[in-house]
């Protein structure tokens, strides 16, 4: 496919890998966090790790909205379906996220709850329009990428005066999560994840632009390179980060200029700010309560806010005791450090959220990187003999 295949070219990957090895200073170590699950997926799926020199380490960040959704929020949706008899609609990757009592939305559906998958927020609105006798709740989730479509359907619902439609809003913001990672006491306490820079979000940045990341570069002296989700994009971003570190720079650079500019999509931003406002605090799986890190629906749209309409009461629920998702999302541990990983916790039967979405650190490692854990040299001490990326 155009604008996809070119950025997966194996020959170019070999050249880039050589360029990275040439630029990385063997006398120092580099640790970069890719915030987005899309980057995590690309790095694992295309074997980018094998193309990097051993002193360049990629740390998987919390950037998958499915992975950071806490149990308590999914419980709200399940309770709505069981106790209030509403029809809950959501994106496919939310359905298998573990909830309380061994449930997930999918298991609740099997027990009779009316929970359905939709491809688009517009499909949820359309069902409510088609069936006015049915109470429809759209369980909205996602970073800044997925928020504008939710804002649009809320506007449309208000314009239509649609009384049987509402949104359970779980939209979260990337910049505040990055700030939490940089300031988190846990990470300081562990002291094992010194970060030299970030690969910045791809599609989130099509909406918010690259400007919000300038703060990190200036305040925390951390370079940020916005990158596309294809393997060559990620490799070029790593090369740009290495170059910034070598030169002692901490700037925001944009590798994904084909879709991202400094200001982002102003039309979408205006729409989002008309419909949503900041929540004072929101619980993230793995990061705990993060101040001003999520959005809620503004008062003029309260009639379409499921939390107001149904008087929902959020209860925080601790994760499974043995699950290490929290430490993995912070970059403190790797998937293989978790004793549930690939034993009781698999993509078919996820115990923690990082195993649910294909963009989660555990699912990506399970599907594409597990063999490396059992390699004699653990796969990281010598440069790769072969390049796994397909030509």
């Amino acid at each position: 496919m155009k604008y996809v295949d070119e950025f997966r070219d194996g020959t170019l990957a070999r050249g880039l890998a050589a360029a990275i090895r040439a630029e990385a200073d063997p006398a120092r170590r580099y640790a970069f966090m890719e915030f987005c699950g899309g980057h995590t997926h690309a790095i694992s799926r295309y074997g980018v790790t094998d193309l990097l020199p051993p002193n360049v380490r990629m740390i998987h960040g919390p950037g998958c909205p499915v992975c950071v959704l806490p149990i308590g929020r999914i419980d709200l949706a399940i309770r709505l379906a069981f106790e209030r008899g509403v029809t809950v609609l959501t994106y496919g990757d939310c359905l298998r996220v573990p909830a309380s009592d061994g449930l997930s939305m999918l298991k609740a559906k099997a027990r009779g709850a009316d929970i359905r998958m939709v491809y688009s927020a517009a499909d949820a609105l359309a069902l409510a329009q088609r069936e006015p006798g049915r109470e429809v709740v759209f369980f909205a989730i996602g970073f800044e990428t997925t928020t504008p479509p939710t804002a649009l359907v809320l506007q449309q619902a208000r314009a239509l005066g649609l009384a049987n439609f509402s949104v359970l809003c779980n939209h979260v913001l990337t910049p505040s999560a990055i700030q939490t990672i940089l300031e988190s006491p846990e990470v300081r306490q562990f002291g094992t994840v010194p970060l030299d820079g970030f690969i910045g979000p791809a599609h989130v940045s099509t909406i918010i632009g690259s400007r919000p990341y300038e703060f990190f570069a200036e305040e925390y002296r951390k370079p940020v390179v916005i990158a596309g989700f294809e393997p060559l994009d990620v490799m070029q971003a790593i090369r740009m980060l290495i170059r910034q570190v070598n030169e002692g720079r901490a700037e925001v650079e944009n590798e994904f200029t084909r879709a991202v500019n400094r200001d982002g999509n102003l039309k979408a931003q205006a729409l989002v700010s008309e419909v949503f406002e900041l929540r004072r605090s929101f619980e993230w799986r793995g990061l705990g309560q993060v101040p001003y890190s999520a959005l809620r629906i503004r008062a003029p749209f309260a009639a379409w806010d499921a939390e107001v309409k149904f008087g929902l009461d959020y209860r925080s629920v601790p994760d499974h005791k043995a699950c290490e998702c929290g430490a993995i999302l912070r970059g403190v541990k790797r998937p293989s450090d978790c004793r549930l990983f690939a034993t009781v916790c698999t993509p078919e039967n996820p115990m923690g959220s990082c195993m649910v979405s294909s963009e989660g650190a555990c699912a990506a490692h399970y599907n594409y990187g597990r063999f490396r854990d059992h390699a004699p040299d653990n796969g990281r001490s010598t440069p790769p003999a072969t390049i796994r990326l397909a030509s």
Binding site: A18, G63, I141, P149, H203, I207, Q236, R258, L271
Partner: protein, 82 residues
Amino acid sequence: MCLAIPARVVAFAADDQAVVDLGGVRKQVSLALVDGVELGDYVIVHVGYALSRLDPEEAEATLALLREAGALLEPASGEAPA
């Protein structure tokens, strides 16, 4: 979750809708979030909505940079330098 795909706009429809082509598959998406899209433009599509236009010149410039990175090291034929 935030994955999105570049798709070519092949027809416009009512209510800010358009038909896009994704490597041979056709699908209706909303253009409500992006202004000034023209027929034949590539847009980045996520959950049924176009999020931004894709700039072909910038895409080519990035590819040229990637080619250049490898070309600089061509004599080493992709092997790690000592």
